[in-house]
């Protein structure tokens, strides 16, 4: 896009004035300084860095071209900036506001620069808007991506933490399930349980769902699949820890748990498991 270079000139000439106004604008619209996540010095440093890169990009006259090297440097800076903000716990609109709050000071500076020439002013403002909007969108996109990365990492961690298979007795395994069951988790749970059955040659597996907050048709389906897979391998499965609400839900959903042994708590399940393996506990 052709540019008259007024933006670049303004950015250079009025840099200090822009910074002061911009920061004032940011602190006015956001309570971030009050919340103490970012200090004023930090904010000023970030703003200066952004302005420097933007000036460099505008200087080349290709600030709206995403392939220009200067623009890419600017984009990289913004990516890093959004990641930091994700970690600091900013919302996406707060992060985007970093860019958008720059509009007002920039437009004012452009107006002062262009004087009476309304035509030129309109062109420049349109150009500035385009550049800043693109940058703002880029910031939000990166912010979202960083958020998603964070979430998926936490999900992985949770997955690894939450599938312990414990041996209760010789030939009796227990799997205390905690948290919501979804397809991916159930798959991992099922695999680790079946693997453990093979390793230990256990006859009975107890799945305890005391820690599962809700059971819907899908969860019930997953449970039934696990039970069937266990049966195919020649082991028995007992489901324990079904809370009253969950029992009600299961019946209302019309899920058929007829072929599955269910017990109210782990102790009862263990007792019946011992009985089935030909053992008994006195007292």
């Amino acid at each position: 896009m052709a540019t008259s270079g007024m933006i670049a000139a303004v950015l250079k000439k009025r840099a200090d004035e822009l910074i002061v106004k911009w920061i004032a604008n940011q602190t006015a619209t956001q309570a971030q300084l009050v919340r103490g996540r970012v200090t004023k010095d930090e904010l000023e440093q970030q703003s200066r860095q952004f302005l420097k890169l933007l000036a460099a990009a505008a200087q080349g006259g290709r600030a709206s071209d995403p392939d220009a090297p200067d623009t890419q440097a600017l984009h990289r800076y913004l990516e890093e900036f959004s990641r930091t903000r994700v970690i600091q716990g900013f919302s996406s609109s707060e992060t985007a506001n970093f860019i958008f709050s720059f509009k007002r000071p920039l437009f004012e500076a452009l107006r002062a620069e262009s004087g009476q020439n309304a035509d030129a002013l309109a062109t420049e403002i349109w150009e500035a808007t385009e550049i800043l909007d693109a940058l703002g969108l880029h910031t939000v996109t990166t912010f979202q991506k960083a958020r998603e990365e964070l979430i998926s990492r936490q999900q992985r961690d949770l997955l690894e933490l939450s599938t312990p298979v414990v041996t209760l007795w010789k030939g009796i395994l227990a799997l205390p399930m905690i948290g919501t069951l979804d397809s991916a988790r159930t798959q991992i749970v099922m695999e680790s349980l079946l693997q453990k059955i093979v390793e230990t040659g256990s006859q009975i597996a107890i799945i305890d769902i005391t820690g599962v907050p809700t059971v819907d048709t899908q969860v019930a389906q997953h449970l039934l699949k696990t039970v069937t897979a266990l049966r195919l391998m020649g082991a028995e499965c007992i489901i324990s820890g079904i809370r009253p609400q969950i029992a009600q839900t299961i019946v209302h959903l019309g899920v058929d748990l007829q072929g599955v042994t269910t017990k109210a708590n782990l102790a009862d399940a263990l007792a019946i498991a011992l009985q089935r393996t030909g053992r008994s506990i006195a007292g």
Binding site: Q187, M190, E191, L194, Q195, I197, V198, G201, S202, Q203, K225, T228, A229, L230, R231, L232, M233, G234, A235
Partner: protein, 123 residues
């Protein structure tokens, strides 16, 4: 032609599947096994599939078919040693093999056969 051997141990027939099952082989096994049950007047069949690490719906159905045929011939069938991956595959395929008895290993399978075939009704 490739065949799956059927071993006789008293009243029980032992089948160990150690090669990749393809459809023709499965049909051949069905044929051989039913005639062997009749010939030896067997009371039980133990199918060891611990070496089978891949299964499709046809093989799954064959296992269930053999079990059904055995029942008609008054002979209990036990499938032993199914690998976790195979079990998961069968479940995902929607084949829960109702009516097929299973056990973890050959030892347990034999114990199960003894208790089952000890009954007079043979079911």
């Amino acid at each position: 032609m490739e065949r799956i051997p059927i071993l006789r141990m008293g009243e029980v027939l032992l089948v160990t599947i150690q090669v990749d099952m393809h459809d023709q082989l499965a049909l051949q096994l069905q044929d051989d096994l039913t005639s062997a049950i009749a010939r030896h007047n067997a009371r039980g069949v133990l199918i060891d599939i611990s070496a089978l690490d891949m299964v499709d719906s046809f093989i799954g159905r064959m296992l269930s078919d053999i079990s059904g045929m055995g029942r008609i011939l008054d002979c209990a069938t036990v499938v032993v040693g199914m690998q976790p991956a195979v079990a998961i595959t069968l479940v995902e395929l929607g084949l829960s093999l109702p009516g097929v008895s299973t056990a973890l290993n050959v030892e347990r399978g034999m114990a199960l056969l003894r208790t089952v075939s000890g009954r007079s009704d043979g079911s």
